[in-house]
Amino acid sequence: MKKFFSNIKKYYKYAVRSAKAELKSEVADSYLNWLWWIIEPLCFMLIYTFVFGVIFPNNTPYFASFVFIGLTAWDFFNRMVTGSVKLITNNRDLVTKVYIPKYILLLSKSFTYLFKMGISLMITFGLMIFQHVPLSIHILWFIPIIIILYIISFGIGMLLMHFGVTLNDLGNLTNIVLKMVFYLSGIFYNINEKLGTKNPKLCFILLRANPIAFCMNELRKTMLFAKGPSIEGLLFWLVIGLILCAIGAHVIHKNENSYAKVI
């Protein structure tokens, strides 16, 4: 663990620079360049709001903001998972030519995703003001909740990154799991409303056993409905996230020198 932090400290600047470089190169030759970072989440929100707010109506207040918060959290997690599976193979050049602690690659990627999540959050706040969501001090809980989401995603990312080196078809499996998590997390529907009275047990499991659904639910509770979060839930997932990170860092330290031989 000590090695992990000293490496992060040593390569932090490189990670930031390479994240900036990637963001820059992403928009370098597209016509609308950075506007895409706003247009994309906005359009998805409109689609979901139309389908699940108009075609399948529901009683959730501030539904557009509700969907947008879900999308913000989901996009980040989804990008972290999809991005990490092929991360080492995609950076073949780096891995075989210089030594760099491999999670620095993930760290750098995660910074680009955090940046996009930041944009998404700003749009969320704009939308909340537009929808006249009553503001409360509980909104500030979004900071610790997102930190926890980040830690969990980083831990899972490190593990997938490791297994992605040797398992060619890990990507297929993660796609299926991600699809499942996507539909079960209640991004475009309200788990509490649909299941809360009909099947409270299932509702409880869905919201507690799935870290993404949990983070989303807590974000919505604190940001939209002026309620405090479930502290013990947050602590639980924080601990799980830290454990995942510790295992991930350990696995990578143990194996990273062999990656260059495999790819």
Binding site: R17, A21, D29, L94, K97, L167, K261
Partner: protein, 252 residues
């Protein structure tokens, strides 16, 4: 143990000590999820690239490594650079900085040459300050004019290698590992880069290991030559001693 190393360092300043180095390619193997179930518990095939190589280099010396394709030359360079860890044995650099001279590591083709100097340099282990101190020197050496402010993807392949070479040549380390990249670019730059390389190499404090198939290069530059064959050391000695024997071996 401590005593003996100390004694040695008094006599001559050892820059690199490689002891009984074994490297094999195995363990992690690319498979699919289904296959990984099937092969659970199977014995994996092991390819031994290096079988117990030991040698030492004094500070300021230039070591050439020769051998046929697949003799383990590049594997050894990468191991010394720290990209692989040895399966057995040890590599001691005695706290010196090291770099494997490789062209264009970490380049992002959509960004400008200038930005890539930083990206690549930081990957090689230099800090932002160190790079900005040498930025001008790198740009001057690369000599690609205004293209330095343009995205790397607009470069010709010659310009690309000029910039890449300049980065690795100007950002110097105590120990340099060179894997067959002695000349790049057009005729003029080729000469310039060869001369720069010679200048870097002949610095009395810099230790250099060169892998090359060009025996002329090795003869001209190296103080010592190590001959590897199938992962084992056949001979180590001066160029005059080793190269004729190697030529004889190859002509058979």
């Amino acid at each position: 143990m401590k005593k003996t190393t100390k004694k040695k360092e008094e006599k001559k300043n050892i820059a690199v000590t490689v002891k009984d180095l074994h490297i094999s390619y195995r363990g992690l193997k690319k498979t699919s999820i289904r296959a990984s179930w099937k092969h659970l518990g199977d014995k994996v095939e092991v390819f031994e690239a290096l079988k117990g190589v030991s040698f030492e280099i004094e500070e300021g010396k230039i070591l050439g490594i020769i051998g046929q394709n697949g003799a383990g030359k590049s594997t050894m360079l990468r191991a010394i650079a720290g990209i692989f860890s040895p399966d057995n044995g040890s590599i001691d650099l005695h706290n010196r900085t090291i770099s494997l001279l490789s062209i264009g590591v970490g380049f992002n083709k959509k960004l400008t040459g200038k930005e890539n100097i930083y990206l690549s340099g930081m990957l090689l282990g230099f800090s932002e300050e160190e790079i900005s101190a040498k930025e001008k020197e790198i740009i001057d050496f690369a000599d690609i004019g205004d293209f330095i402010k343009k995205p790397v993807k607009t470069y010709s392949s010659g310009m690309y290698s000029k910039l890449a070479f300049a980065i690795t040549a100007i950002l110097e380390t105590d120990i340099m590992l060179i894997d067959e990249v002695l000349s790049v670019g057009d005729a003029k730059f080729k000469e310039k880069s060869y001369n720069k390389m010679k200048e870097l190499i002949s610095d009395t404090h810099r230790t250099v290991i060169i892998v090359s198939h060009s025996l002329d290069t090795i003869r001209e530059l190296c103080d010592e030559v190590l001959w590897l064959e199938k992962g084992e050391v056949i001979m180590k000695g001066s160029a005059e001693e080793v190269i004729p024997k190697y030529e004889e071996f190859m002509s058979v």
